[in-house]
Amino acid sequence: MKRAILAAVLILSLALVGCASGAKSDTIKVGWFGALTGDQAVWGENEFNTVKMLFEEYNTAGGIEVGGKKYKLEAIGYDNKGDAQEAVNVVKRLTGQDKVVAILGPNASGNAIPIAPVLEQAKVPDIATVATNPKVTVLDGKVKPYNFRVCFIDPYQGAVAAGYAYDKLNARKAAILYDVSDDYSQGLREFFKINFEKKGGTIVADESFNGGDVDFRPQLSKIKAAKPDIIFMPYFFKEVALSANQARELGLKQVLMGGDGWPSDQLISMGGKAVEGSYFVNHLDYSDPAVQDYKARYKAKYGKETELNGYLVHDAVLLLVAGLQKAGKVNGEALAKAFEGIEVQGITGKIKISPETHNPEGKDAAIIKIVNGQYVFQEKYAAE
């Protein structure tokens, strides 16, 4: 049933995109996938909307020029429900059936990691948006030839969080609560722990929960007894809001800290007072002049605010277009080669893809504090 509805929706949207893009031979097909249903659907919808909006803008401006020829861009998007197995299936479909030249997304590391073999076989590059786990592009010290990303990675993010907590917030005892069933959360927890301890701090409680849990009071009661200075919560905003509320109910008054799974309008509406005064590491500063134009265009088109993912997928599209132009032809293999060493000025910062890691090098992290229900930029912070 779910599939039938989805298929209908997708066919319909494809038909619409197809009509707009005109002649078939001069279009470049680009795949996108992510969660359009389930817990992370907010972000998936936001990403796909952004991709569609940007492609439309390119097309109305006459398309993009690759190797002296004008092309229109066509987005083909599938829902993988945030599921890793489904991610592999939709990538097979995108590469095998739809013959896309490149794929944008997904946002989740857990979904980006398993698709590598399919990409390699089909020779189609993928640009992940907010997938921050190191294994997305590098596995066992070897770079995956067809996986790229536009965001910084978890070791860096964890180091930033630990450094900021220790040096700027003067925390010496930290407690961690993390999602044991999630690669992203586990990675952040690991790198926070390593870096915080290296600085001389102690982890006084290291507790976990399982994805889908809604009650965290047993773990929080334990954390309360350990009397930390700060609580690190490296997971997504739904659980952040629930656990923050429950922490305050149990009388925990500590500063909460998190990563890029936090920023969302819903965090503020669900978390309210409980997340007030918390800090998190983010990919960008929402008040940065560079992002205002995109933010306004998105709002005007869709009538709601963009989420974090939109900014990153925006830069993934820029990278894709720059890559196509550099490659000079519409070919996945050439495109993957073209991405290596490319430099693009994105709205989230300069993106210079390292040939060794396929990560953007030297991207600063932004520290954001929640003040009066607003995300207030504190500073750009780089970890040593």
């Binding site: 049933m1 779910k2 509805i5 907010v42 507790e207 889908g212 809604v214 009661s221 819903q266």
Partner: protein, 292 residues
């Protein structure tokens, strides 16, 4: 000691969420001998009904509660009529009921995703989040209310089943529905009443769940735990469902609090399996072989 008491309070509070959901499973099981997995979907819709009653209709809390329960009562009856009645009339094997129930559950989830949308929503603040402080212990206001309302509902349900004529008929049907029908009892009506009662409780459970946590289309998944609690306590037995839920909640909490939160589910479920090996019908279950 303080931490132990606090963890015990946490456990009871989690257990009472499970209990409200588990009773619905047990109730239907006692009559129909199958696990009504659509119950999770009904709970989820109960949470949405309550949410919209509070936000769109701006009803006072108690009215929203009643409206949500009325909605889920009707929904549960509707599901019975559409998904189960045709199977009953054809005397289909129980496996078919379970498959039909799962289908109904997936259908409900996807209807909500397609119409209301996949994002989660937050209930307006009905009760202050500041807990009642009992010395160093914190007891949530909502938890307390939930405990009270659950107790009243479950008490009312047990009274209904033990003391009323309809209740007697339900008991008889639970014992042997075919013999019951032969004695001239309208078993079709009994089944409707049972689904209605289960639906009513699902509405209450849904609204509480939404208020306590949040509302999203996958709430139904959480009922897996309450189903397990119902099995643990003894499917088909109402006091068993309550006991099983409270025990599961407490065991989970204590394992997370004292052994390891990483292995919470693992250890908690090993304990459950252990119990079921020695008491296959659950703690208070009816000791019959044919009910599977």
């Amino acid at each position: 000691m303080v931490q132990f008491l606090q963890q015990l309070i946490n456990g009871l509070s989690i257990g009472s969420v499970y209990a409200l959901m588990a009773v619905g499973y047990s109730l239907v099981y006692s009559i129909m001998n199958f696990s009504n997995f659509a119950h999770g979907g009904v709970i989820m819709l109960g949470a949405y009904f309550g949410f919209f009653a509070l936000t769109l209709l701006k009803l006072p809390f108690m009215l929203a509660f009643l409206l949500a329960s009325a909605g889920t009562t009707l929904l549960a009856i509707l599901i019975e009529r559409i998904a189960y009645k045709p199977l009953r009339e054809r005397q289909a094997p129980f496996l078919y009921f379970i498959i039909s129930a799962m289908g109904a559950s997936i259908l409900l989830e996807n209807i909500v995703i397609a119409t209301i949308g996949p994002t989660f929503r937050t209930y307006p603040l009905v009760f202050e989040r500041t807990p009642i402080a009992l010395g160093p212990l914190a007891i949530g206001r909502l938890d307390l209310l939930m405990f009270l309302i659950s107790a009243v509902c479950l008490g009312g349900l047990i009274f209904f089943i033990e003391k009323t004529k309809m209740g007697k008929a339900i008991q008889a049907a639970a014992y042997n529905i075919k013999a019951c029908a032969l004695m001239g009892v309208n078993t079709d009506r009994i089944i409707l009443v049972v689904f209605g009662l289960g639906g009513f409780l699902a509405g209450i459970a849904g609204v509480f769940f939404g208020m306590k946590y949040t509302v999203y289309p996958q709430i139904g998944n959480i009922t897996t735990k309450s189903f397990i609690a119902a099995v643990f306590g003894g499917l088909g037995s109402l006091p068993g469902a309550v006991l099983g839920s409270v025990l599961l909640g407490t065991i989970e909490t204590l394992v997370a609090g004292y052994l390891s939160s990483q292995y919470r589910d693992l250890i908690a479920f090993v304990i459950l399996i252990g119990v079921l090996i020695f008491r296959p019908s659950g703690i208070m279950g009816k000791n019959t072989v044919d009910k599977a």
